[in-house]
Symmetry: C2
Subunit: 335 residues, 2 copies
């Protein structure tokens, strides 16, 4: 039996290209005792993957060359030599950019129930992106009812959950997204109080004016997925003792870092900025995922997916994601 996988062929300089990836066909070897074979239904594409493609200091190991690209996956067990996994089980794991994964069951796979919640949601609102939103909001921003919370990349897999959780907490929520469609989605479908199209604002000053109009009482908590000009503008609008959860700096991934224009605002407004990666806080996942699953099952948290078809289209879908062309959680359908 054959497997298809995509490996990192070379490290990008600047924006990645198709040459950085290579699609390979490889034989599937027989399972060893304790191993499980998973046929992937969906692969998750996420901005963090861009960081892994670089060498050098990051919070995580660099993606090795000529190895299967890292990535979250959901699928079904098609063969098992592990007592706790049976053929047909639905599982979530870090299976990578490939059609089949061979996993050591314990620790690498988590069984999930797709009878109420669709399998793909375990890669989104009830998966790593949802937990990222949950952690940053509840553990760093710690919003109180009546406060104003801002989030950028707000229609994305993380941002949309941040905003909806903040609404459920009783906050005023302002979302920043790219384009009128995404902004309409935030206010009309997700219940955000206001949305700002950052593409309509050429600089931090203009964006600041939009924040002034939509966050008339200032911003108490901000969930940062983007960085750069957006962060500069939001910092100008933060209230005293505001909290900023730093989850993404996508603008800085391609080479040169983007300086923070006015770091003295950290002092002037007594801000807290805190970076985090959710995989370092596994002890909170059971609590967070249970809450998220309840909200999704009850329809209190909605989500949208952007689905590419076929492993061979994963690189292009990834580039679109980095450019913000996706709308909602970016997935690749593999069956």
């Amino acid at each position: 039996m054959k497997n298809q996988r995509i490996v990192l062929a070379s490290r990008p300089t600047g924006f990645p290209t198709v040459e950085n990836f290579r699609l390979e066909e490889v034989d599937l070897t027989p399972l060893a005792e304790g191993e499980v074979r998973v046929r992937h239904h969906y692969l998750s594409l996420d901005p963090y993957m861009r960081g892994r493609m670089n060498e050098g200091k990051s919070y995580a190991e660099a993606q090795p060359l000529d190895q299967t690209m890292i990535g979250g996956t959901v699928g079904e067990v098609v063969e098992s030599r592990h007592p706790r996994f049976a053929v047909g089980d639905r599982v979530v794991g870090m299976g990578g950019w490939q059609r089949y994964a061979t996993a050591r069951g314990e620790g690498e796979l988590r069984k999930v129930d797709d009878s109420v919640i669709p399998l793909s949601a375990y890669l989104g609102a009830v998966g790593m992106p949802g937990m990222t939103a949950w952690y940053g909001l509840t553990q760093i921003i710690t919003p109180r009812p009546g406060e104003t919370v801002c989030v950028d990349a707000a229609s994305g897999a993380v941002g949309s959950v941040v905003g909806q959780l903040a609404k459920l907490t009783g906050c005023r929520v302002v979302g920043i997204a790219g384009g009128a469609d995404k902004c309409r989605y935030l206010t009309e479908e997700l219940g955000f109080d206001a949305a700002i199209d950052y593409k309509a604002h050429p600089n931090a000053k203009s964006l600041y004016q939009a924040l002034k109009a939509t966050a008339p009482s200032g911003i108490d908590g901000h969930f940062e997925n983007v960085g750069g000009t957006i962060l500069d503008a939001v910092m100008l609008r933060m209230n005293a003792h505001g909290r900023i959860a730093v989850c993404g700096m996508i603008s800085g991934y391609n080479g040169e870092p983007i300086p923070m224009a006015a770091p003295q605002l950290i002092l002037v407004s007594r801000l807290k900025l805190q970076g985090f990666i959710v995989s370092e806080h596994m002890e909170l996942w059971p609590t967070g995922l249970r809450e998220l699953a309840e909200h999704v099952a009850a329809g209190r948290i909605k989500y949208r997916e952007s689905i590419a078809e076929g492993l061979e289209n994963a690189p292009q879908a990834f580039f679109d994601l980095l450019r913000g062309h996706n709308f909602g959680k970016q997935l690749v359908k593999l069956i």
Copy 2:
């Protein structure tokens, strides 16, 4: 009876000059019921005063024009119409740049004991600077024994207490200061493990190399009094989950802010940066001041003072402070 005071005559553009201040002689009016007259022994000069001289958004009210410059003072009660204050009492307050203050006793003055601890120390290690050090270290950096703590402006009133408190916690302590004398003072008199003369390092890269040599295990906690290049270099050397207490951004006070070169390190190293001003945390002062007083009385916290003589020399001493020419806590002796 006459009082002498210095008022803010005009707001500076860039570095302040003598023209921004005006020395006035004014009559002392009779005390009203509940008021106390204090003859100042010492005036404290502090970097925050530069910020108050500006108009515009800051964490505190701007210093009003033609009013006595704000400032911490210690002195003795020379006349009292308040039942809890008697002539001869030693008191600390925000009496301002003047020889006599007229205070409403309750809330504006705090009686202190100068039998063990010298009166001037209540403006330094056992006063606002000491509390600033205590708060940033114990409430934001929260160091554990064996961790490495860094502090800049390290021979100053705040920095010297930060480093000594961190040593008492069992940390490795690296101080950054300007000049060989101050560096020698840190290691030989205050017990710092290492000192870096920032004047010997023309840029962040060079300073980073010095931090690499003196903090071989990286930096876990940093107390930021300066900002700019120093902060950039320290951030490069921070360990994962490092904490930075942001207390001063003196480089940014004179006009243009200094951008933060690599804010993505907040994410990469999962840092927490938190700005604070200690006067917003008065509930912790009794605890902090008690600890500081015990350490000072026992000789575990040492300090140095830089004393200018006479109110008329306060502006020049203030300029020297802003240029880092002082060595230890900057005071003006008023008797």
